[in-house]
């Protein structure tokens, strides 16, 4: 594998997903395909030549020249407000990737998989869950998805559909739960993480993605519960 140079891309589709997040499909001629969990770099160029670059996880996987990402707006950010508020089909940008060979699920690995997402950390994990759902048989998957409220959940409808189709989904709400929700509201603690995840004896492969504080807490809880730290893969974003 050798990383491509920048590839010219166009926005093919832009769909609001939450009040502050959007799904974008990019048409990238020459895209070599990607594995579930990989990311890409996006470069925007202003009319005067000024450029800004950021990394985003990829929600899609497999062959083809269409790449899906989902972006949550960082209000003081530079690239995410453009992608969430401004970009429309036909707009030009550049893409480099796919990047990263570590935070990747191998569909041939029969180990049980535990996905733990905090907020927009769902994106690379959704790519894995989608890849698994597209297979007729494979590793058993569980997803623990922590969001502020149901309305803040990127890919809420699709996660519900995947749940109905057999993915073992546990939702966690940190600010407000839907009416009638029987569980606790608030940050995940070790006990709730243990209840919603595979037991250490099942020797799962765990992928955790989200803001740094969320990933630290979830990864610490998994290790404290007895999971092998070498089988807990993490991807963090945002400030500490």
């Amino acid at each position: 594998m050798r990383t491509s140079d920048w590839l010219a891309a166009r926005v093919a589709d832009a769909v609001p997903d939450t009040a502050h997040g959007r799904r974008l499909t990019l048409a990238v001629p020459g895209w070599p395909g990607n594995a579930p969990g990989q990311h890409l770099d996006i470069r925007l160029t202003a009319p005067d030549g000024y450029q800004a670059e950021r990394s985003y996880s990829i929600a899609s996987s497999g062959p083809g020249e269409s790449v899906e990402i989902a972006v949550d707006e960082i209000p003081e950010g530079e690239v995410s407000p453009y992608l969430v508020r401004v970009a429309e089909p036909g707009d030009a940008l550049e893409v480099k990737g796919p990047l990263g060979a570590y935070f990747v699920w191998d569909p041939a690995d029969p180990s049980p998989v535990q996905l733990i997402a905090g907020g927009s950390g769902i994106v690379p994990l959704l790519a894995m869950a989608r890849a698994r759902a597209a297979m007729s048989a494979g590793a058993p998957f569980r997803l623990l998805y922590s969001v502020r409220t149901a309305a803040d959940a990127l890919y809420r409808d699709e996660v519900e559909r995947l749940g109905a189709a057999g993915l073992d989904v546990t939702w966690a709400y940190t600010r407000q739960a839907p009416t009638g929700w029987p569980g606790r509201v608030g940050r995940l603690d070790a006990e709730r993480i243990a209840q919603a995840t595979w037991m250490p004896a099942q020797h799962p492969l765990t992928f955790i993605c989200g803001p740094t504080s969320f990933v630290e807490a979830a990864a610490d809880a998994m290790v404290a519960a007895g999971h092998d730290a070498a089988r807990v893969k993490t991807e963090r974003f945002g400030g500490s």
């Binding site: 990383t3 770099d41 740094t212 730290a229």
Partner: protein, 197 residues
């Protein structure tokens, strides 16, 4: 020059000659790690250098703190595109650690608690270019940022500044470490954007 992106004007952050290409300034100190944060007690910590002869030189935490330390003021650049200017560290220069080490190999592999590795040429470690740092901003280094101690090689992308470092082993060739086997560049110069394979 690429086709411009309709509607993108950029936020016109002040350009700074200390900012390498493709990087943006942050006041935060983001974290990039591949797994759970190892928590290493200072009483269990040691740092060692292994040479091609098999000789191992080790320092315990207290022995390490007794070595001559330096205050380092530097900018740091992460491959995930954030740069942080004017950071302050305290640690022991690699030159100090290698003062009594007999090696002719030109490359080193940094090993970390938690199993991670990264390869660095000695030319990027010697000559006042690199340290094993145990304090950031006047305080002990947080585990999330690599404490008790991390390698500090600020002129390379920050994944080379291995967190939770426990030693260097000399190697004849520039064999790739963990990140370098997983998509990152063998060397990692931010000024020439040596980001990926």
């Amino acid at each position: 020059m690429a086709e411009f992106t309709r509607g993108f004007g950029g936020r016109r952050r002040e350009s700074d000659p200390r900012l390498p290409p493709g990087q943006y300034l942050t006041a935060d100190f983001p974290v990039l790690s591949a797994g759970p944060t190892p928590r290493i007690a200072e009483s269990e910590w040691s740092f060692s250098i292994r040479t091609e002869s098999g000789a191992v030189t080790s320092w315990s935490w207290s022995e390490f703190l007794a070595l001559p330390a330096e205050d380092v003021h530097t900018d740091i650049h992460c491959v995930t595109r954030w740069s942080k200017l004017d950071t302050t560290w305290r640690g022991v220069s690699i030159d100090t650690l290698f003062a009594g080490i007999d090696t002719s190999y030109e490359f080193a592999m940094a090993h970390s608690y938690g199993g991670y590795t990264t390869n660095v040429p000695m030319a990027d470690l010697r000559g006042g270019k690199a340290w094993v740092a145990y304090a950031f901003d006047g305080k002990p280094l947080d585990p999330e940022h690599g404490g008790p101690a991390r390698l500090l090689v600020p002129h390379l992308y920050f994944w080379k500044s291995a967190k939770w470092v426990r030693g260097l082993s000399m190697q004849k060739h520039d064999d790739p470490g963990f990140w370098e086997q997983n998509g990152y560049n063998l060397h990692g110069d931010p000024w020439t954007e040596e980001r990926y394979w």
